[in-house]
């Protein structure tokens, strides 16, 4: 099993519903966020091109955060999802410094926190992650890449896509449809 997510940059309107849904679902402390929306503008007026992306932890297959963690708190869970065990985390910040996407932050309670793909609270119950379910333009696809009939496998079969900073060698599992 290999959980992955695809975000359609043509459909995303940058409403930030995914951000609020995540904060509510996962009790993210006030002032923090596990996902965020990036708007990229290319060119000079009037020849502009825009791309909007909903970003979060890339749940990399070759995760620098898991490699750098001195205690094993950062680990690969079911389906390759990268999680942090708060009871093992010492809050040293090595994983935060190791993430090329700056997807992690120190939780006010001390341990390091990040996107979980809603693995425990939603995905294991057969639901989509909160950000995917709430998206008003249905621009996000989630599922198992090993299952050819999952929404994410299907959309990646038919569309062109990219990942962020593939040259960092992390093999990210967050795909952007272009």
């Amino acid at each position: 099993m290999r959980y992955a997510m695809a975000v359609d940059t043509h459909k995303c309107v940058g409403c930030s519903d995914c951000v609020v849904a995540c904060q509510t679902e996962n009790n993210v402390p006030i002032g923090y966020c596990r996902d965020w929306v990036v708007e990229v503008t290319d060119g000079t007026y009037p020849n502009l091109e825009a791309e909007i992306r909903s970003e979060r932890c890339n749940h990399c297959e070759n995760s620098p955060c898991v490699r750098c963690c001195p205690t094993g708190a950062s680990h690969y869970a079911e389906g390759g999802v990268v999680l942090v065990t708060p009871e093992k985390c010492i809050g040293c910040g090595a994983c935060i410094a190791s993430c090329p996407y700056d997807a992690r932050y120190p939780h006010p309670d001390g341990y390091v926190d990040k996107c979980t793909f809603c693995l425990e609270n939603r995905v294991k119950k057969g639901l989509n992650p909160a950000c995917v379910s709430v998206c008003p333009t249905k621009c996000m696809y989630f599922g198992d890449l090993d299952d050819p009939n999952s929404p994410v496998s299907k959309v990646l079969k038919n569309r062109k896509y990219k990942t962020l900073i593939p040259e960092a060698g992390t093999n990210p599992q967050l795909y952007f449809l272009i």
Binding site: G14, S16, V19, G31, Y32, C33, D35, W36, V37, V38, E39, V40, T41, D42, G43, T44, I52, P64, R67, C68, C69, P70, T71, G72, A73, P86, E87, K88, C89, I90, G91, C92, G93, A94, I96, A97, S98, C99, P100, D102, R104, Y105, P106, P108, D109, G110, Y111, V112, L164, I165, E167, A168, G169
Partner: protein, 313 residues
């Protein structure tokens, strides 16, 4: 023109607008660890070479400050932790892929070794020292018999400690400035250099001071070579590495790095040491103090500038 902005807002504490998860604690620890490693390395080296008589400061006196340096370094590390009560988790596992993990274990070996070393040399500092209890005498006798194997263990573990302070940073490929394998040897050399400087400062023996001034001069030469090598590597590499180098070549860290680290911390002490070796009279404390302060500033600059360097996004 390309502009990327986070439109949903994101101001995660210590991450935005620029990573600053590591503050003064980490560079201070890297400096203290490197300095302790340098002193212990020379103590072990000259014990193995049976030159305790020629270099009494290096072998017997200087190691007395290393447990203090290591304790302060560990305290700084502890202050840096955000989930402090779980620090013992470091010692429930050994993860070879994580430099921080094997570095923590190295400290677990080096710190007791430095204490044993002090205990074996305590009569050099306090000639009338008395262990009082019989088992302490027996323990001392046991370690004294094992002094040579202990010296070898200390030689190797101090080298690992010195190189680890650099590898800790170079393991992070997310920060292009740190992500160079030169950093391990560079931090090791800098640590040995500050260690030699500390021995020069503490020594009252002119011949010993001269030897360590020569050693320091050689180490400064190696350091300059490695720094030039590092920049050559960056400038011949990818855009993110070129950007990382430009932090020091016109960017915000240009003046602190070239003035405080390279000029005041390396070039001027090297010049003073050359003059001293050529028998010009130099106040003996200026060059080593400059080397030590330069080493400290170097750690600070590398840790802060590294967090400012990132991948194109």
């Amino acid at each position: 023109m390309r502009e990327e902005i986070i439109v949903s807002g994101r101001m995660n504490h210590l991450i935005d607008p620029q990573l600053h998860i590591w503050n003064w604690q980490i560079p201070l620890y890297l400096f203290l660890g490197g300095l302790a490693a340098g002193i212990l390395f020379f103590a072990a080296l000259y014990t193995i070479m049976h030159k305790e008589k020629e270099y009494p400061t290096a072998v017997r006196l200087a190691p007395f400050i290393t447990p203090v340096l290591l304790a302060l370094g560990l305290l700084a590390l502890f202050i840096d932790l955000h989930h402090k009560l779980y620090f013992w988790r470091l010692y429930t596992t050994l993860r070879l892929q994580s430099p921080m993990s094997w570095g923590a274990w190295t400290l677990m070996i080096v710190t007791p070794l430095s204490l044993i070393w002090c205990a074996l040399n305590i009569k050099y500092l306090f000639p009338r020292w008395d262990w009082k209890y019989k088992w302490l005498f027996q323990l001392e006798a046991f370690f004294r018999k094992q002094q040579l194997p202990l010296a070898w263990l200390m030689l190797i573990s101090s080298l690992i400690l010195g190189v680890y302070t650099g590898i800790l940073l170079s393991a992070f490929n997310a920060r292009p400035l740190w992500n160079t394998s030169i950093l391990g040897p560079l931090f090791l050399t800098s640590g040995l250099s500050t260690g030699a400087a500390a021995i020069v400062l503490m020594s009252k023996n002119a011949a010993e001071r001269m030897t360590f001034a020569r050693i320091d001069l050689m180490l400064i030469g190696i350091e300059l070579f490695l720094i030039i090598h590092m920049f050559m590597g960056f400038l011949a590499s990818t855009q993110v590495h070129i950007d990382a180098a430009s932090l020091f070549l016109g960017g915000p860290y240009t003046v602190p790095f070239w003035l405080f680290v390279v000029t005041l911390g390396l070039a001027i002490p090297a010049l003073l040491e050359i003059l001293e070796i050529r028998k010009f009279y130099m106040p003996p404390f200026i060059a080593p103090i400059l080397v030590i302060i330069g080493g400290l500033i170097f750690r600070f600059i590398m840790v802060y500038a590294g967090q400012a360097s990132r991948w194109l996004y």
